[in-house]
Symmetry: C4
Subunit: 498 residues, 4 copies
């Protein structure tokens, strides 16, 4: 591979001829500018210079090599010609570093909320916006959490709970708890090791990770980080080019992945307006791009930028093809109605995830938890439940082991947690994920004792009262004129003290 | 027409003889003072001087000429005698101009709320009060929005949604979306081009505008601004003088208007107390008027000032007469009960709008959306639904394409949006309306894909869960004594950092 | 009557011998100290000096003369011996006077809330506490308001509403609206003319006042202020000494009072803790009283102080006796259950008031409005409704004419408003009451037009939807940990502006 | 017992040899370090020095002597060798002392909330955290309060309520009210006299105290403080070592305790994260402990530290054994389902307490009040209710006599109040408890009069409306974008005033 001087690269700094450096390699992206899912503007910002730092958290390492024809791979940059740029430390960088230094000791993390609170503070604004945003009015993202608080326990007492065991089998794989780690994208936005933090912690504690299609780390990096025999699942966004998908799936199966979760609720990615606004803010700070350039993708945020390859034509007809290319169990992630649950069952797949994509897709869609009872009821028309050949998972809004127990009592096969673990590694890396797992273990032990269930088989429907599950509460008009004059009650006042 | 010197006008500066200048013409309004729907006080403020600036946004250009007998038209003001008054720039003017300059770039508008936020900031207080106010306790205006959040989607997955099409036929006219732009009054209060902003944007993007009776621009100005073949509807307040109404309606039909929407929920305009208070504030700043003057209309706000011509005797008996004067489809705007929906159907009109006048009339009346299911049910007793001869529209509180899809799923023929477009031109003129339309297009595309509907015929009742639609939430007493002592949970604390 | 020097009075300044001056008369209250319903402490504060200013707003003028044996009436104070005390103007007095001067012009009062807002600001703290307080946790006082917002209108359109008439007959008396002014106590706490403000305004505008037993003005003062033929009702707290009650009732009847409203929900006055706290605050500022004095009544507030004469033994058995002493219609004020409504009907009285005493008695008792439908249903078992021989009134929480219309639609005979008028005279005297009446007239006109009722007979059950009337909303736990990290959506941001 | 010099003790100041002084006795706790339920860290803080101050509020006086083998009791410390340490007064100590001095006079305490407000201010942070914390998300602890506000009264009028009597029989014992004082742990954290405050006040006012297993005072101290014949109950945590339990129960019976309340909802203590965080904070301030020490119990809070002896294997099978060791009535505290209520009934115990442990155990478990109706219904299948052989008590969230009346109306045998009395002695010692009792007496008198019940037998189901009892309200998504632009209504504005 030929060596190219940094000065030579620098000459190609415009729309007519645009070269960039990524990981010390030089690429000619002139013809790719208009195809870049994230818009041309962001690439032009790095025209003629090194783009690695911006490229890395958003793309798997091999994204550029697989997308760009080989003749556009110009060569390696000559290291002797590179002028080391001293990175400008911004005020915001300094604030973040100070907060990182001031993080609470990890053993003060008492619940999954704590990780989120730390992550919110130490994450770059862009990463927080991307991870935390929900679709449109963000009603569904909050509903996911709220739904769990509408299911109440009916605890049984005076059972001998000296020994309680919450280990569980998920799609034939052993898990130390009835929880798997659901896929979340772009882990390096939040931590340099990205998804590997999860892989390592999961392996150590007997939990199953679902690898995201949109991981920052490459698929193989993740699998390589796993321990021998550590079970992994794969989340799949189906590509418009089915050959790419086939190669990806079959490679995963060959590498030992145990189940394929096909995302079916994202023919187009949702409007996550916090993320979109962040993109706008970000653009404002960039170098001037020639005026008049019509760049319709400019402020659609990271989410939309990275998702243009997803195929909106995916349909039930494709199921047979999937069956033909893999022997892994196939799970459809994002089913929301009994109608589709039965279609899935009848299509011969091995299960579904009741999910609304973490509240990031269709707004005012129900929580997976609320969809659970009618869907279990529908599946019972096909045979007894639980059904050894068909699994129903739930994800979205889970923060506590008690949330998991509620879903299990209502018939779920297991529960996925995404952001809870994502935030734990954003805050403390691999150690954060391990602590999060430990917290859940503590909570499982206590809650199973308190409801009187000694193993996951004893978590039965009678242990919860879900009669209020559909009592979603709507908006309520404040009584402004009355409240203007109503004087709240107060308790007795302490005496004057100087 | 004779020329009159500004000095001669200035002599008529009192209740005994009151002349004013409007658009360079001089009028003797002495006898009209007590008949002015907005009260005499506001006219006396301009007695003997030029009133154009105050007159213009509140009245169509021809209001004074058609209301004042010809003998009171004194003549034209002699331009040589006019002393150019340098308009005092107030602190508030300066604030508004600064905010106008600081508006976010238009491509950062991501949803219809954004326009409202900008409009709220850049509008004169009086205009904001007039546009934004609702009836009495403003319960209904907020309920309009809240009702949409009580209908949830039941999305279908794995349909091929590579192509989705949300174009629609409304009263036989093609529309690029299942939305029409509903009538809102006095557009020039918010932007110098007033309603023309809407007309031009609507023509460019294939959307239908409903022209308001109380437009700031004259009817003909609006129609003239339309493109050839651009469909327009007309909103009608029925005048106590039916000849005026007849002339108006027939003129509209001649100019090509495609449908007549008769407002039936406003025999008297509502108490919009924000607007009324603004009037009071405004009065305080005006020139001293002789004490003791009893002006009962003084603080009734713009709404009431402009509406005194509306006929409270309008009744079902008038329907035959309307039928006799026009061939346009007749739609009754403001129906709220199945009883009246059936009366409308049986009276032979072509449709109804389930509307509460944007929450500006009867307070604690239901949202149009909540009225939709029982009214569709009632209409089904007259034949299958949808009925090609009868349309049911809904308006009020619509902010998202998803709101529109919910109404359509529940049986609506199409949906009206008023304030959403009004605020978009208050904030950015015609360009604002265009951007608002574009945003809706984006939202329609995404949401139709996510619910699995490829065209508007596929938006079926099964796609929504409206079981909570009537679960309006009431006021709730806070537990002040308890809250005084309850200490909220908090997450782990960061370490001390200087 | 003998003259006593102020110096002679001053010698009796202790618990062993306690004289006070009221309205220039000297009384020996030594033996009365322990019987004083307001406790001895407050009297001892004025031992040996003039107590008129403290006495006046709390007692009718004749309270002391009728309660104290004639031999304790020492004589008149010798005016030549009285040292004119210059009243200390406190900081609080100054603040109140400044706020009185700054009151909004009365024509800016747009609704009954406005009067309450003004009254809250200009009233002495003690008066506000007494008037505004409710029982215990103040749940019921707020529920009274909230209940009206759970009844929604079903408005009818296209009726000829050019003429609407809301005049009404209440217990055979003509009223300009379906509203009477309910009794509230101690009017002089809020305005020097006390209840007379109401009497005069009511007479002028054809509204009926209910005279309170605990008026600051004497019964005869009030009746004397009425116009010839002006109908008046009387509210009665039944005295432990039935002769006093008999005399009072028969005197009222002789003076032309048209109906007797016997309060039945107050065998003991409620815990109004705001009022009780105010008493405590007040006490702290007073002169030192000898320690060790056990005064259990010390901090029970005005309410309890003035009510010790009320007879807790009052029962159904007394009804025959009441019937025997008067021919006025007898109405039981404070009935809350269908069971008691039927007992009242069968006891032969002429009506009931569904009232919870303005939320000042039993907390978590229902609003009168919520009790209305089941009680009307029960009374229908005794014959058709409305029943010419039996009236059902409602009071509590009424702020708008629309509230009144809702109660009428649900079967009420008329509606009582207490605080609404009380606050109007606290804020603006008689003129305030007149303005309040005018506002209600305006609201009646508009709302009757908007619901399509041309007179009070046309206000029918079908005009309201009360299906949510019992949907009282309870307390809801906030999700503190989640809310700590959830970042609210925001609209587009304006650019930086200096 | 041999004398040991303080200097000799000081030599044993590390993990290898750790002596401490408690109440002037020297103990070798080296081998006990790893068994200490509160972790070794806290003991090591006092290695070689006097630990009495830290020991006292958390442990009964005899905890160390009964837990430590006799050979580890080194001897008495030689008083001549002790250097009096002047206790450092911290900023926080000064703040607390100032607030104690500024407490409101006790007669300004008007309700139980007032005591809580004072206690919150004057308690050490650690004590407040321990007392006030609830389980996990603290939903249940607030639900306990909220449930009472969902039961409304149906008051009866015109009954002769001149005499009302709320004295009551509880498990055969006379009580001056239908309330007992429920067990709360570690009273000395809040007041030096700990539980004795309650014992003395209860004896004086005829109320029954339930003695907690985890009292700061020893069982005998408490019993000794009782008056002759004063009835006492005992709350029991069952020890893993049943002999200890047996000895404890039989000793209690011998000392005259009238009933045994066995806690069945705490096989493991709940996650009370406020308490756990406080522990973390506390640890940060302590002396450095050797790094690397793995102390998993380090931040589990007081609750978990003191509860490790509780036996999680306790089950229905143990009931016969309890019956065999005592003749006291046996009550199971913490039953939450009709299933377990019937098991309890059939197991031959004398009653149950519907309790969720003050919201400190399983979160999102129902309030005792909500569990009451279905459990009474279930028990009615075993015979008429009330049943003289079986009692059903309720505790949790009670703040008012009206709360008690609601529970009684729904079938409860009596009601327990814990924190209400706990906070009253934290704020004012014994006098606080007496005042709290007096307040409840006042509230009982008033409320019984207002509902029309003359004794506790007249408190019948028809006096409450519990139809909304299960209408727990869930979380509700705020409408952030709308609220950003909605402008609340306001009342008329006062004029400018300088």
């Amino acid at each position: 591979m030929s060596l190219v001087s940094a000065q030579a690269v620098a000459a190609h700094n415009n729309r007519e001829s645009c070269w960039i450096i990524v990981h010390n390699k030089v690429y000619d992206v002139t013809d790719f500018l208009d195809e870049h899912p994230g818009g041309s503007k962001i690439i032009l910002k790095y025209a003629g210079v090194d783009a690695t730092e911006a490229y890395e958290p958003i793309h798997p390492p091999d994204a550029i090599t697989t997308n760009l024809p080989i003749e556009k791979h110009i060569g390696a940059v000559d290291p002797n010609t590179v002028v080391k740029v001293v990175k400008q430390v911004t005020e915001e960088d300094r604030r973040r570093q100070a907060m990182l230094d001031a993080r609470p000791p990890i053993d003060e993390m008492l619940n999954l909320h704590d990780f989120e609170a730390v992550a919110k503070t130490v994450l770059p604004a862009k990463a927080w916006a991307y991870y935390s945003s929900g679709g449109e009015d963000e009603i569904t993202i909050r509903e996911n959490r709220a739904a769990f608080q509408r299911v109440w326990f009916r605890p049984r007492v005076l059972r001998d709970v000296s020994t309680v065991d919450w280990s569980h089998i998920i799609l034939g794989q052993k898990s130390s708890m009835p929880v798997y780690i659901s896929a979340t994208a772009l882990g390096k936005l939040g931590h340099p090791d990205g998804e590997l933090n999860v892989t390592r912690a999961a392996g150590k504690h007997g939990v199953i990770q679902m690898i995201p299609t949109l991981a920052s780390c490459s698929f193989d990096e993740i699998v390589d980080a796993a321990q021998p025999g550590q079970p992994l699942f794969l989340q799949l966004y189906v590509n418009r080019d089915r050959e790419i998908t086939k190669k990806y799936v079959q490679h995963a199966e060959k590498r030992g992945v145990k189940a394929l979760f096909i995302t079916v609720d994202a023919p187009q990615l949702g409007r996550r307006e916090k993320d979109m606004r962040m993109k706008a803010v970000d653009d404002n700070g960039t170098a001037k791009v020639q005026d008049g350039q019509q760049d319709v993708k400019k402020n659609e945020g990271i989410s939309r930028a990275i998702s243009s390859f997803i195929d909106p034509s995916l349909s039930w007809k494709d199921m047979a093809w999937f069956r033909s290319i893999t022997n892994m169990p196939i799970i459809l992630k994002g089913v929301a109605t009994p109608e589709d649950a039965l279609l899935a069952y009848d299509a011969g797949v091995q299960g579904i995830v009741l999910s609304n994509h973490g509240g990031r897709q269709l707004d005012t869609s129900f929580s997976g938890l609320e969809n659970l009872p009618p869907i279990i009821a529908a599946l019972k028309t096909r045979g007894p439940w639980p059904n050894p050949n068909f699994s129903v998972f739930v994800d979205g809004g889970v923060r506590r082991a008690s949330d998991v127990l509620k879903a299990l009592a209502l018939g779920a096969s297991a529960v996925g947690i995404g952001r809870g673990f994502l935030y734990s590694f954003c805050a403390y890396g691999q150690e954060g994920v391990e602590r999060a797992i430990q917290i859940l273990h503590d909570e499982f032990q206590m809650n199973m004792r308190l409801i009187g269930a000694r193993n996951t088989n004893e978590i039965v429907p009678e242990m919860v009262d879900a009669s209020a599950l559909s009592s979603r509460v709507g908006l309520s008009p404040p009584d402004n004129l009355y409240n203007n004059t109503y004087q709240p009650l107060s308790t007795a006042q302490f005496k004057n003290k100087l």
